[in-house]
Amino acid sequence: MSRIKGCFERLKSEGRKALIPYITAGDPDQAVTLPMMHRLVESGADIIELGIPFSDPMADGPVIQRAAERALEKGTSLHNVLEMVKRFRETDRETPVVLMGYLNPVEVMGYATFAREAAEAGVDGVLTVDLPPEEGSEMHDVLLANNIDPIFLLAPTSTVERIRKICNASSGYVYYVSLKGITGAGHLDLDSVASKLGEIRKQTDLPVGVGFGIKDAETASRMGKLADAVIVGSAIVTRIEENAEQPEAAIESVGNFVAELRRGLDA
């Protein structure tokens, strides 16, 4: 059984919801990422989404784009990101790690090489933001062949037909983007999220995570009542940005915030 599947089954049996924080690998520098990942887990993260920095993150807001810029300034490459996961796995064999990023760095490495090296490093899932199922069958086949879950986004604008297609291509979990917009955007409409989650659940038994716009423990808690997992990115990355010059303080700030989210989610 994959780590992701195992994680959701355990949580389900405990009656809890998954907390999935996102950080960009190499932000604010490469040395911070490994201790940050461990701190995320200590603070209550169930799964880690680790961003592969890209120069042109079209679907992200300014917060995540700046994180990518900081990471790239420090020379963070896809090879470095895989190395970070490998080192994380030396001491943490339980927590699933999902890589999230854009296609081009993976394309340059080559799908087969990427999938093999990611599997060896201990990556559990890959979410390629700009690779829809229609264009992605080759990549998704090699991921599955290496026991890595391809994870996809669903959006408020996704039709029933697309929800079905994407759920069929997904494994691990599906990631519902809770609002029209970019990461770190606007306000959440919980009623519309609830109704869309109903549509999605008619198409799949996979756990459904919700992300985009979850800024604090209260929204995490309310979202946790609807979804199987709550994904928090920009609100965490903002805390890294505020402490970009002091890595220890960044880890501390993020750790405290994730612990708050955990309490909100478990309440």
């Binding site: 790239l72 081009n104 760095p105 394309e107 996809f152 029209k180 917009g181």
Partner: protein, 405 residues
């Protein structure tokens, strides 16, 4: 693969927007439905006689089409080879070919019931062309423009503001065209219900590369007939500058099946291809995925997009339309690059010899003509897309002579 003589070069893209291995739809799920909606509307209206008549009327009465083809006799004589003909897109309303496309897309937006237009712009020509049609149709208009470009194209920024558009400077990334495109996409994702995104070039996710080409192909359709009328035969060669590649594909497309016509697309070599400071993905890049399509890109070994350099803001883009990528691989068109210096020389040449001040983008095509024409016979002809006028570039050119306007 069919043999070359029977290839239908006008059959692309396929139903999924692919030009061979290029093109396609590489976007976040948040944009898929909007692109689907756009594609359905586009496929419906591009066959609708009412819609096409509306575009034709605007192109005639508002833009001033057909634009003339001019025989640059004096320049041809001086170069001592082929006869050079200029397709005068610089005479269009707003001063470049860009308006052909913005009229098409804005009228499509109106048919789709969208009330808000957004666009990205590099040199500002597409932004001005978009703001112009938005003003005329009474649509709200927001133009994204990199901070670097805002600084080097002040006059166009002011023009857009006069036309009622809101110009948003983009400070992320390299602060140029590619970042403006990222920002416009973000706006579109957020405001997809009422907003139409007018992309200015033949790049982006399907259906943009095909749609923009179809709106620009009026250039080649007119020019093909004009050359037949003026010279009794087709030109021997076509030359156009290539940034994203919309003026080039607009000229090339109607000639693709005329196998006797050689086709040259000219990229910006900036400081020189060997310096790394250029904007020539077809000549010095490799295939990858950016801005919704697979195409040639300027990228580093880790797949990060690198900053480009060109004296012309309109060519300063790390990607290129996927149809050009395909035409290159299939060898139907040849792609070359000229550097800043050569382009500037051609800018001055055409200005002094023919009394036509070309845009710096266009000057790249002209610089290539100065190399190509002398290799051809005087009874042969080259048709160049004079894609834009140089008014917007006065301060850039003056600065190269140490003059601050």
């Amino acid at each position: 693969m069919a043999t070359e003589t029977t290839t239908n070069w006008q059959s692309m893209p396929d139903e999924n927007g692919h030009f061979g291995p290029y093109g396609g739809i590489f976007v976040s799920e948040t944009l898929m439905e909007a692109l689907h909606e756009l594609r359905l509307a586009y496929e419906k209206y591009i066959k609708d006689p009412d819609f096409l008549a509306e575009i034709d009327a605007d192109l005639q009465h508002y833009v001033g089409r057909p634009s003339p083809v001019y025989h640059a006799e004096r320049w041809s004589r001086q170069l001592g080879g082929a006869q050079i003909f200029l397709k005068r897109e610089d005479l269009n309303h707003t001063g470049a070919h860009k308006v052909n496309n913005t009229i098409g897309q804005a009228l499509l937006a109106k048919r789709m019931g969208k009330t808000r237009i957004i666009a990205e712009t590099g040199a500002g020509q597409h932004g001005v062309a978009t703001a112009t049609v938005a003003a005329r149709l009474g649509l709200e208009c927001v133009v994204y423009m990199g901070e670097v470009d805002v600084a080097r194209q002040e006059a166009n920024v002011y023009r857009m503001k006069l036309l009622g558009a809101k110009v948003v400077p983009v400070s992320s990334g390299s602060k140029t065209l590619k970042d403006a495109l990222n920002e416009a996409m973000r706006d579109w994702v957020t405001n997809v219900d009422n907003t139409f995104y007018i992309i200015g070039t033949v790049a982006g996710p399907h259906p943009y590369p095909a749609m923009v080409r179809d709106f620009q192909a009026v250039i080649g359709r007119e020019a093909r007939q004009q050359m037949l009328d003026m010279t009794g035969r087709l030109p021997d060669a076509l030359v156009a500058c290539v940034g994203g590649g919309s003026n080039a594909i607009g000229l090339f497309y109607p000639f693709l099946n005329d196998e006797s016509v050689a086709i040259y697309g000219i990229e910006a070599a900036g400081d020189g291809l060997d310096t790394g400071h250029h904007a020539a993905p077809l000549c010095a890049g490799k295939p990858g995925v950016l801005h919704g399509n697979r195409t040639y890109l300027i990228e580093d070994d880790n797949g990060q997009i690198i900053e480009t350099h060109s004296i012309s803001a309109g060519l300063d883009y790390p990607g290129v339309g996927p149809e050009h990528a395909w035409l290159k691989d299939m060898k139907r068109a040849k792609y070359d690059a000229v550097n800043d210096k050569e382009a500037l020389q051609a800018f001055h040449d055409l200005t002094r010899i023919e009394g036509i001040i070309p845009a710096l983008e266009t000057s790249h095509a002209l610089a290539y003509v100065t190399k190509l024409a002398p290799t051809m016979r005087t009874d042969q002809s080259i048709l160049v897309n004079l894609s834009g006028r140089g008014d917007k570039d006065m301060h850039t050119v003056a600065a190269t002579e140490g003059i601050n306007l």
